[in-house]
Amino acid sequence: MGFWQIINEKGWYFLTSLLGGWPATVTVAVGSLVFALFIGLIIALLRLSNWRVLRILSTAYVEIFRGTPALVQLFVIYFGLPDVGLEPSPFQAAIIGLGLNGAAYMSEIYRAGIESIHRGQMEAALTLGMTPIRAMRYVVLPQALRTMLPPITSFAIVLLKDTSLVFAVGVVEIMALTRNLVTETLQSAPIYIMAGLLYLCMTIPLSRFAARLERQRQAWQ
């Protein structure tokens, strides 16, 4: 059967099958994004700390998680943690794994955002009697967030695509269903292309949103 004939006859079946993985994809993406946003901020603040030990430890974290494949990290969490008495479910392993990996990248986004704020802002806050933590919370971070929103949105797009790895630890998301469908029907190209299109349907709106935020950021600056 030709490509278009397959699409014509079986396209709807492929689409509805793959859409079954959409909730899991979104759940892992949102869960790991929240994880990365939270842990990434902590790592960034540790990297900016006056304490050398904290800076060294947080730098090591970033180097390790950015320097090793996300897939390896997922395997270590899912297959390795049971050896120390912890048994994460596939979903837990996926969210923790992508979250820890994403935190390393997010910490760099936070750090760049915080460092882009003029030092005078922190100094003014300190001279008003704020502690460095209060100054960060009420003065620096609110300003840095505006400049960070475009790269955070771009990072969210990357994270969404990375969810395609978590089939390897047993999560039944779009990629897992894609592989199952290919095995079932032996039709590779149409199914993989359809899976790609599904991801595009999610990433394109995010890209447009990121571009809009970037324009707003430039106008604000």
């Binding site: 003014a124 806050a125 001279t127 008003l128 009697g129 704020m130 003065v139 609110p142 300003q143």
Partner: protein, 265 residues
């Protein structure tokens, strides 16, 4: 035993600096500064660029950590404490508490661009002093009206002129009711036609009895407002005294040379 205070009594200076030193690497920026400022006194510090004037101000509120010497404000040691005879730096929280009593006005205003004028003035009273929002806003409106900007409370800094921004910065400091106000070349970043409005506010504060240490290039203003003028060069106090002496009858050749150079411009 933890010791924070030195002298007590009505005659003690509000600000007392003993043998203050500051180095950046091998570069000596402050070379043994001794200074006392009494309550209500207005002290102007003049001198060439690089003489250490700004660094002195920044050391007073510990934006820069001194390399040596000690600072007392109202009898309390600033930035450090004595434990069993040894000097130990304060924690961030302790330092923040000390800074509440010291107002600092920057050359480049350093307003918070994400807050309105009122927001800039109320954020510290709310988050640091614990005032309620209503109390902070009442105080904030009063301070902004005092500096002539009661009609600009809802404007963001980007919509204000340089002179207005600096006046908001002064109001922001006043809202914390500091014992001591430090001005670091408060008019140097302003267009000439905007300088007057800021100097007017500073003159008003001086007339009201604020204790002020003013680093400035405005020699005429220093002469009109100050009780004492200090000339600094190469990290040292070269000469100090009443304005009529230092500005019009300087004893030190370096002071004369500097003032002559200013007049020739």
């Amino acid at each position: 035993m933890i010791k924070r205070s030195s002298e007590t009594g009505d005659n003690q200076p509000l600000l007392k600096i003993d043998n203050l030193q500051k180095k950046f690497g091998d570069l000596v920026v402050l070379d043994g500064i001794d200074l006392e400022v009494h309550r209500g006194e207005k002290v102007s510090i003049i001198g060439p660029s690089g003489s250490g004037k700004t660094t002195l101000l920044r050391c007073i509120n510990y934006l820069e950590k001194p390399s040596g010497g000690h600072i007392h404000i109202d009898g309390m040691l600033i930035g450090e404490k004595q434990i069993n005879g040894k000097y130990v730096h304060l924690s961030d929280r302790e330092l923040a508490e000390e800074r509440r009593g010291i107002g600092f006005v920057f050359q480049r205003f350093n307003l918070f661009p994400h807050l309105t004028a009122l927001g800039n003035v109320t954020i510290a009273p709310q988050k640091v002093l614990g005032l309620t929002r209503d109390e902070a806003e009442r105080r904030g409106r009063d301070m902004l009206t005092k500096v002539g900007l009661g009609h600009k409370i809802d404007e963001y800094p980007e919509r204000l002129s340089g002179g207005q921004q600096q006046r908001v910065a002064i109001a922001r400091v006043l809202a914390m009711q500091p014992k001591l106000m430090l001005f670091d070349e408060a008019t140097s970043a302003l267009d000439p036609e905007l300088i007057g409005e800021v100097l007017r506010v500073m003159r008003q504060l001086a007339d009201e009895g604020s204790t002020m240490v003013i680093v400035t290039h405005e020699i005429q203003f220093a002469g009109e407002v100050s009780d004492r003028v200090i000339f600094m060069d190469h990290g040292k106090i070269v000469e100090q005294g009443p304005p009529r002496d230092v500005l019009f009858n300087p004893q030190q050749p370096r002071t004369r040379e500097f003032l002559q150079h200013i007049q020739e411009r």
